[in-house]
Structure formats: structure tokens, C-alpha cells
């Protein structure tokens, strides 16, 4: 079922652009703050966004971060055009990394990015086609208002 979209915005990410690595995550964070969302939720999503953004910068040619806010969740899709991931199970293992010295010198590339994204979010999916690119879909749930706001069926007694 299609959910009501309260907000939607797309941010572009350029591969190898370390000088702007974190700008997309910071821009999303500013949007979420302006919307007055719970700081703990903003923090979790921003951590996931920053790791996902750095992955695009470190490994892909280019990518985009799509932010969609619905009444029940903040959903993010990060899709890139790049080398893709041959073995996703291996990439999900904490500590596994194919990072270069440059990436490590930036404080990333220790094989924690994907596990960190999974840890900080409520749902996480990864799809990758070697030679084409990788798509991450993750979300953080929003607490539901105690009184029905039209989306949910009214509370039964």
C-alpha cells in the first residue's frame, strides 16, 4: 500500500569527492531538524546516512541519496553506479574491507560501514550487481502519535 509522503528530497553524491564527504548527511540532518523530529532518531539516521555517503565516495563513481518521510518512518535509498559488491555476506562482516590508505586516513574504511548502517536503522536491505552498482534501502521508524491521526484505524476498545 502506498503511504502518504510528507517530504521527499534527493541529494547527489560524487565518487572520490572526499572534500565534500558528509555534506549529504549534514543536509539531510538539517532537514530533519527543521521538521522538529526527535534528536535521537535524527542521530541514528544521520549516522547511517554518513556511512552510506562515505561508501559512495570511497567506492563508486556517483550516487544519490533519496530521502522520503512518511508518517511512520524516515526511509532512505542510496543508489550508486560503481563496482558493486561481489560477496554481500562478506561485506557485512565487521572488519572486512577493501579500503585504500586514503580512505583509512579519512577515518573510514575499517569494514564497519555496512554493519553500522544496519545497527543504526530499523530496516536495512542491500542489493548489488557487480560491475553496475549497489543500492541500500534503510529506514528508521517514527513513533506513532498516541491518538489516531487519520492514517491508522481508530483504536478499538
Amino acid at each position: 500500500m502506498d503511504e502518504l509522503v510528507l517530504y521527499r528530497e534527493t541529494f547527489t553524491i560524487t565518487g572520490d569527492d572526499f572534500e565534500h564527504g558528509g555534506d549529504a548527511a549534514a543536509a539531510v540532518k538539517a532537514v530533519l531538524k527543521d521538521l522538529g523530529l526527535d534528536p535521537a532518531i535524527i542521530r541514528r539516521l544521520s549516522i547511517a546516512n554518513f556511512e552510506a555517503e562515505m561508501n559512495v565516495i570511497m567506492y563508486a563513481d556517483k550516487g544519490r541519496m533519496d530521502l522520503v518521510i512518511t508518517p511512520s518512518a524516515i526511509r532512505v535509498v542510496v543508489a550508486d553506479r560503481g563496482p558493486g559488491i561481489e560477496d554481500i555476506d562478506l561485506a557485512m562482516q565487521e572488519g572486512y574491507s577493501t579500503a585504500t590508505a586514503e580512505m583509512r586516513a579519512r577515518g573510514f574504511g575499517a569494514g564497519m560501514g555496512l554493519p553500522n548502517i544496519e545497527r543504526s536503522t530499523d530496516s536495512f536491505e542491500i542489493e548489488s550487481v557487480p560491475g553496475k552498482g549497489t543500492t541500500l534501502r534503510y529506514s528508521v521508524s517514527l513513533p506513532q502519535a498516541p491518538k489516531g491521526q487519520g492514517q491508522e484505524a481508530p483504536e478499538q476498545r
Partner: protein, 117 residues
Amino acid sequence: MKLTEIRRLLDCDVIYGEDLLDDTEVHSCFAADLMSDVLAFSRSGALLVTGLTSLQSVHTADVADLAAILFVHDKRPGDPVVEVARHKKIPLLTTRRLMFETCGLLFGHGLQTAGKE
């Protein structure tokens, strides 16, 4: 501990945020050069102690809601990085002491670990 006290304790230079030091109080600290560790395990409101001066240290402090960054070993970020910290109002300090001494002194003066239990 207020940042003014930390500045005195470690004889810090203030790179940005002189006017924020008195109003910023930290109770915990997370020390790492690996930003993924900070993102995974730190708690909001902590002081970040690091030797990493790239833009990513400021973005990490921003997304993880950290109170300030203290660079060790007299490291100083470049102007574009300081500019981002100014925009985000994240105080930046630097001390000549090394990571180990810095952490030892902060721990000895009552700062707690800002990691997950």
C-alpha cells in the same frame, strides 16, 4: 567539566569557538581516529578526542551530536574544515599532548567513557 577547564588542563589552543567554551559542559569523552568507531559507539554530548583533522571529523561530531573536538599532538585542521565547524557551532581545540596523556588527564579529572556499555 567545562571546555574552559579542559583548555586550562591541557593548555589548549582554541581553533574555533572561544565564546562557546564557557557554556559547553562535557561529562564524557570518546577517543578515536576511526570515525566509524565514533559513529558506532559514542554517545551524544561527548567530547571527541582525535588526531584526525579531515572534514570527516567535523561531520562525525555533527551527525553524532558531539559537543566539541579536541585534536591531539598539536594537530590543526585546514581552513575549510574550521569553516564547517563554525557553521555547525562545534568548538575545536588542540593540545600539544599526545592521545594517551590527553585521555589520561581527562579521565583523571572525572570525564567518563562515552561508549556503549
